[in-house]
């Protein structure tokens, strides 16, 4: 779960990208597009790959206006990604109705519960769990977990107060726990 995806060379890469060096912008795309597309996918985007390209085209267009370090750059990219996601939803793309969660989980022994649950939680199941979360809770949890943003950065991205973000992440984790519990995963 590394937050530094530029191996300590973020500043060099950013300066080169601003100067129009193709390799530098490609480096930015390779470093951050996996988390961006994962965020968009778990948010239920219909075309996450295409939307990711739109996000990085926006990054390229506005690269000259960015000032900050890698953490701030990451937050800035996710802000763009979240806005593009809202644009896509406004364009009328409808999320498919949530599918019922599979109930093929076997109760696990107390000593290896985390590994067992992790293996059982397929990505489809995780997506289905995210679908069932309230939108605000889902935004906060995904920005914190996938975007690796701090509470303050999430608050800035979603135009909320840090206190509201903390409350939403607590309720979001509670909802996930309740859903897992109802499906037979011991908590």
């Amino acid at each position: 779960m590394r937050r530094d995806r530029f191996a300590g060379q973020f500043r060099t890469v950013l300066v080169a990208a601003r100067q129009g060096e193709p390799w530098a912008f490609e480096r930015i795309f390779v470093a951050l597009s996996p988390v961006v597309v994962g965020y968009l996918r778990l948010q239920g985007s219909r075309e996450p790959d295409d939307l990711t390209s739109e996000v990085f085209l926006g990054v390229h267009r506005n690269l000259s206006s960015f000032e900050g370090d890698e953490s701030e750059f990451r937050s800035w990219v996710f802000t763009i990604a979240h806005r593009r996601l809202l644009d896509e939803r406004r364009r009328g793309s409808r999320r498919p109705p949530p599918e019922p969660l599979p109930v093929d989980l076997d109760p696990a022994a107390p000593d290896d519960v985390e590994d067992t649950v992790a293996e059982s939680l397929s990505i489809e199941r995780v997506r289905a769990l995210c679908e069932r979360l309230a939108p605000d809770q889902r935004d906060v949890l995904l920005l914190r977990l996938l975007g690796r943003l701090t509470v303050d950065e999430v608050a800035a991205t979603l135009h909320k107060t840090p206190g509201a973000v903390k409350a939403l992440q607590r309720r979001g984790f509670s909802a996930v726990g309740r859903l897992l519990d109802s499906e037979g995963v011991p908590l």
């Binding site: 779960m1 490609e26 000259s64 992790a118 995904l142 903390k166």
Partner: protein, 254 residues
């Protein structure tokens, strides 16, 4: 203790109380070790985070182009051809995005503007041009002069002014400018001029000596009231010498 509310069910469980602790949530988010009863939430968090560990998605054609070609720098000025091409592409894209009715309206407007321009320029046939100009004059303050349909006459020769008299240029007499009362035969109205302008009836000479208005006053409607002579007598010249003192006149002659 069991409470009610949004999280009432979870309040009955120990793990919910743990979530009230910010450090516990941070431990889940950061992937740190947590209590065993929170393991499912930690597993969920790890699974979500693993969604970002894959390969980069395929880039769109537009985005991929930025990876292989030097990107246009914001401060680099585009060439005129590039700008025109870009503007045309932008206009074409906007037109393509219009609805059917909007396209029909746009086409009609362009056609009307073209016809109006052609009519104003006078390149349409006479009848069509007249109609278009009339329409323009109705809807706008613009007024067009009627084209001259009559052929050039003697008085409006089309080449009038092309040739300059040798008298005017000084070739004939070595003196620039027309120095007489001769009028060119090519000048307008030449056909209506007498052969010798100087041979006509001479106008009365207003400067005839010895004849004054006073002498002809009897010819006016008020002639019966004219006295036979004025007290001082009529002036005999333009210089009223009678008003000049004799000494002054002498001084002037000397």
């Amino acid at each position: 203790m069991t409470t009610t509310g949004d999280d009432g069910l979870e309040m009955s469980r120990g793990w919910f109380a743990d979530l009230s602790d910010e450090n516990t949530i941070e431990a889940i988010v950061q992937g740190h070790e947590v209590d065993n009863h929170l393991a499912p939430l930690a597993a969920f968090a790890r699974r979500v985070q693993s969604e970002g560990d894959g390969q980069a998605p395929p880039a769109s054609a537009t985005l991929a182009a930025l990876f292989v070609a030097p990107a246009a720098r914001p401060l680099v000025r585009k060439g005129r051809r590039q700008m025109v091409k870009g503007q045309l592409s932008s206009v074409a894209a906007k037109v393509a995005g219009l609805g059917v009715l909007a396209k029909i309206g746009l086409g009609t407007s362009i056609a009307a503007a073209g016809i109006a321009s052609a009519g104003a320029a006078g390149v349409l046939p006479d009848r069509a041009s007249h109609a278009v100009r009339g329409a323009i004059e109705v809807v706008s303050p613009v007024e067009f002069q009627e084209p001259e349909s009559d052929p050039p006459t003697e008085d409006r020769q089309s080449n009038f002014g092309d040739r300059v008299s040798s008298d005017a240029t000084g070739e004939s007499d070595g003196q620039h400018g027309v120095d007489g009362d001769q009028i060119s035969d090519e000048a307008p109205g030449a056909a209506h001029r007498p052969a010798d302008p100087g041979q006509g009836d001479p106008p009365a000479d207003p400067g005839q000596p010895d004849v004054t208005g006073q002498d002809r006053a009897g010819e006016t409607p008020a002639g019966s009231h004219v006295p036979p002579s004025t007290p001082g007598g009529p002036p005999t010249s333009t210089t009223p010498s009678s008003t000049v003192p004799p000494e002054a006149e002498e001084h002037a002659h000397s």
